[in-house]
């Protein structure tokens, strides 16, 4: 046991919208009206469910094309990996690395990181909150950048409408990939990092 007192030990909950600390039995925060919880309810279950859904969608997101480029009658489906390789081959290395990081690495890292966090919060692996905390904040911060490929599809579809010469249309892979990004964002939001400290104190 540490010498620190937790708000939850005294039946108090810090409001996650306005920060006011009040008794959980009030139900709602007296200052901003948001529902009070000492811990996010079913945090681990929700995180795992959202994360699994993201992991499943990750496969079609990378197998299916995110857009089709039609150039002079030639139809060319484009996947995320294909787009990255295109930049790599044309020696635009920084952009290839950006796409690799944002679209391939970050979603995978988020899924791995959240699994690790859930395992630590339930005691399957050793919880060391300061290190895991950094992992948590980094995953929350990076998630949004994965949206970049969705924006690229939108931009290209809107700009490259040159009749018979060249057109771009969106494909199902883009929707699946947007689903991956949103699901991992929601999963990160559902995870309650305070559970890591609870687990540490229990051991």
């Amino acid at each position: 046991m540490s010498g620190f007192v937790k708000a939850a030990d005294r039946g108090l909950a810090g409001c996650h919208t306005c920060g006011l600390v009040s008794p959980e039995k009030l139900g709602r925060c007296p200052r901003c009206g948001v529902v009070l919880h000492t811990r996010t309810p079913n945090s681990i279950q929700r995180t795992i469910a959202l994360m699994l859904a993201a992991a499943v969608l990750y496969i079609p997101a990378h197998i299916l094309p995110i857009m089709t480029i039609m150039e002079l009658g030639v139809v060319e489906p484009n996947t995320i990996v294909g787009g990255m390789l295109y930049f790599w081959k044309s020696e635009a290395y920084p952009i290839a690395i950006v796409i690799f990081t944002a679209s391939i690495l970050i979603p995978l890292m988020k899924i791995v990181a959240l699994s690790w966090l859930c395992a630590a919060a339930t005691g399957y692996v050793k919880p060391s909150p300061p290190m895991l905390g950094r992992l948590y904040f980094v995953t929350e911060l990076m998630g949004r950048w994965s949206m970049v490929d969705i924006f690229v599809v939108g931009i290209l579809v809107s700009m490259v409408q040159l009749g018979n010469y060249m057109t771009v249309v969106p494909e199902a892979g883009a929707l699946a990939f947007a689903g991956v990004v949103l699901l991992t964002m929601f999963a990160a939001m559902s995870f309650d990092p305070r559970l890591l400290w609870d687990q540490l104190d229990k051991q």
């Binding site: 600390v21 952009i95 950048w145 949206m147 924006f151 690229v152 490259v160 009749g163 883009a174």
Partner: protein
Amino acid sequence: MSKASKMWAAMVPWPKPAGGRRYSACHFCDTLHEAHPVEEGASAVCQRCGVVLYQNRWASMARASAFSLAGLILMSVGHLFPFLTMDAAAMRMNLSLWGAAAALMREGAPILGMGILIFTVLAPYLLTCGMIYVCLPLMWGHALPGARFVAKWMYRSEQWNMVEVFLLGVLVSLLKIAKVADVTFGVGFWAFTGVMLCMAGAVAGIDREELWDRLEVAES
């Protein structure tokens, strides 16, 4: 005293709500702390995990209002001009946020089109307008009707504001089409780069506890 300096002098510092101040719970480890006021420029740090509990930023309300106002103006200007202009096959194409969203909706991806509008138009507008509505009158200790409601939605829209990600998308797209067409940056791109910086400045200038303490005092 000039009128401007009188207005500056009337600006209230971070007030403490009545009823004796209370506690602060670390949002990361839930450790309970007694919440003492901190000096301007200083911050209170969790004794256990080191995460910042709250901080008293210099001229926070003025900064949040000014940056949000600048952001709102730049955003409105940015919507009038294209982000990119492309010349190819004797045609000229312009890129705008609305155009990108409309194209996706037309080409069979309405959900993605809506997504673009939410992340790059709706969330930034909610954030900047909300900040101005809440923070500007709070500089002098006033709260407009419904300020709490607006503040709540302002915080919710914060993480959905993806202007900076969209700008990265514009750069990637530019490199992708530069091979087949002449592409140039438009005023919209530079305006939204400004929007991105203003939003970062506005959000960084403000502390959650301070904002809600001020709201509570202003409404009591």
